[in-house]
């Protein structure tokens, strides 16, 4: 109840495409990629939050970016 994975109806429509760039450092051209999205998305989101809150004086913000924590950060910056 406190934390769930996104469900089908939380999502928008996806358009899927593939860009193939074989790895040049091994004979099969393979590379690990499963975590790429997971690693990139949190800093992108937190950077966006910080960018939005910068005019309000918020200089630091840690995950998770729940609405309550964002509001608390704004109040702390005002104080």
């Amino acid at each position: 109840m406190d934390y769930t994975m996104p469900r089908a109806d939380d999502f928008c429509e996806f358009k899927l495409d593939t860009v193939c760039t074989p790895c040049t450092h091994n004979p099969l051209g393979t590379k690990g990629c499963g975590e790429a999205g997971a690693i990139g998305s949190p800093p992108a989101l937190i950077n966006a939050v910080l960018d939005a809150l910068a005019p309000l004086g918020v200089k630091e913000f840690d995950m998770p970016a729940t609405s309550g924590r964002v509001w608390d950060a704004i109040q702390a910056a005002k104080a």
Binding site: T66, S67, W71, D72, Q75
Partner: protein
């Protein structure tokens, strides 16, 4: 799996007798079945209310809409009668949980359970509804007595709820995204007797806010609601929201609900 007896009464009176004898009433099962799976509840007998025709249906009765206790959320949401008379109530029902919950969950089950973050209790309280049971009629103001607790006696079942048709009303829910329960939900109603404001999700039980009601009775505008200070001292604090944030949401969601009610 542990064993239990499963009864399927066909009248509300039979169901009330079973429940008085210790059976647990099963409405839509959206809380009870999950509790049983988690072993938080282990009733020896379930009395399934799903086969009792007199508990379903929606009808207009003078200046009220009367909805049977076993009416599913999806049926309230899609009812032309409710949409025409109290569109805020149809809108509330259309946004409870998800499609699966709305297909199974019932008005009576939600109101009898009185979860502190459920949507329906706010509509019952803000509209000044009347809860019809197997033995009496209970005014909304006397019905919700605390966290998961109501004025229902042992063996007493809700049969229907009568909602007086307001001049204007709207419900605004700020969802807790994981559970989809209300982190704060505010139901506002403008009636001939003044404004009524009921808040769910913010405290241990749904409650009316006297300050907001007084301000909105004077002037039914978002600006009037914005001028009311919300005391955070009795509000919930958990990992999703501090009490101060919930107090802010009570104000913001009331302003939004009033704007929505004014169309």
């Amino acid at each position: 799996m542990y064993t239990f007896a499963f009864e399927r009464p066909t009248t509300a009176a039979d169901a009330a007798r079973l429940v008085a004898a210790g059976a647990k009433p099963l409405a839509g099962g959206q809380t009870l079945l999950a509790s049983m799976k988690l072993r938080l509840a282990s009733p020896e007998t379930l009395a399934d209310l799903g086969g009792i025709k007199e508990l379903t249906g929606i009808r207009r009765d003078g200046d009220s809409i009367v909805i049977g206790a076993m009416t599913r959320h999806a049926d309230v949401a899609e009812s032309a009668e409710v949409q025409a008379a109290i569109p805020a109530l149809a809108d509330l029902a259309a946004h409870i949980g998800d499609r699966q919950v709305r297909a199974m969950g019932t008005l009576g089950g939600s109101v009898a359970n009185n979860d502190p973050a459920a949507c329906y209790p706010s509509a019952v309280l803000a509209l000044g509804a009347t809860v019809h049971t197997t033995s009496r009629k209970i005014a909304a103001d006397d019905f919700f007595t605390g966290m998961f607790s109501t004025a229902l006696e042992e063996g007493e079942l809700i049969t229907a709820i009568g909602f007086p048709i307001p001049q204007r009303a709207a419900y605004m829910k700020f969802k807790q995204p994981a559970s989809r329960f209300a982190m704060v939900g505010v139901f506002v109603a403008q009636t001939a007797a003044g404004a009524r404001v009921a808040v769910t999700g913010a405290a241990s039980c749904v409650f009316r806010h006297a300050g907001l009601e007084a301000a909105l009775t004077q002037s039914f505008t978002p600006e009037a609601a914005a001028g009311v200070a919300i005391d955070a001292s009795d509000l919930n604090a958990d990992i999703h929201a501090s009490a101060a944030y919930r107090a802010n949401l009570v104000s913001v969601q009331t302003q939004r609900a009033v704007a929505k009610a004014l169309g």
